[in-house]
Amino acid sequence: GAGVSQSPSNKVTEKGKDVELRCDPISGHTALYWYRQSLGQGLEFLIYFQGNSAPDKSGLPSDRFSAERTGGSVSTLTIQRTQQEDSAVYLCASSFRSVGTEAFFGQGTRLTVV
């Protein structure tokens, strides 16, 4: 399809393991965002990419979280040594440009740390 694609859709992992979440944005979209939604909470900003660079990493909760984007397209969000508080839905969005246009979201990855 032509929308934002995220994989996996669900991930259950043991505490302490590393996980990698993938986002395929809409082709041609230069801006890419990662958000997460914990149970009963709003959308928490994590990181924003313009092309391959990340001008704003201010939302990453700890140094266990990192993200990269290659070729101005696919992005991966990596969480090392997962903790139970990392359990959330991780949402990726992309937009054609950063200013004044709506972002299109993927369906999210539900991460459960047990």
Binding site: Y33, G42, L43, Y48, A93
Partner: protein, 110 residues
């Protein structure tokens, strides 16, 4: 420090009546304002937007109002329909990123 607040976590409205969802913000840096709608197990979908130079934008049953002096944004849905039941997020664009409110769960009662 919550820059964008949706003070009503939930709202119930009779079918056919008007639904009014509110959003308050603290920072004047935002220059573009959006509303998103989210169904369970799906990502948010864009609904309607307004730029900071306007005070009203209408699209069918949906109207967004912006009061910059009060730093207040609202979404009106009229008439409300059962399919409008969802969580609504206001989203403000500034500093190259979208900042979201905490959401309001709207339930339309048939």
């Amino acid at each position: 420090d919550q820059q964008v607040k949706q003070n009503s976590p939930s709202l119930s409205v009779q079918e056919g009546r008007i639904s009014i969802l509110n959003c308050d913000y603290t920072n004047s840096m935002f220059d573009y304002f959006l509303w998103y709608k989210k169904y369970p197990a799906e990502g948010p979908t864009f609904l309607i937007s307004i730029s900071s130079i306007k005070d009203k934008n209408e699209d069918g049953r949906f109207t967004v109002f912006l009061n910059k002096s009060a730093k207040h944004l609202s979404l009106h849905i009229v008439p409300s329909q059962p399919g409008d039941s969802a969580v609504y997020f206001c989203s403000l664009f500034g500093n190259e990123k979208l900042t979201f409110g905490t959401g309001t769960r709207l339930t339309i009662i048939p």
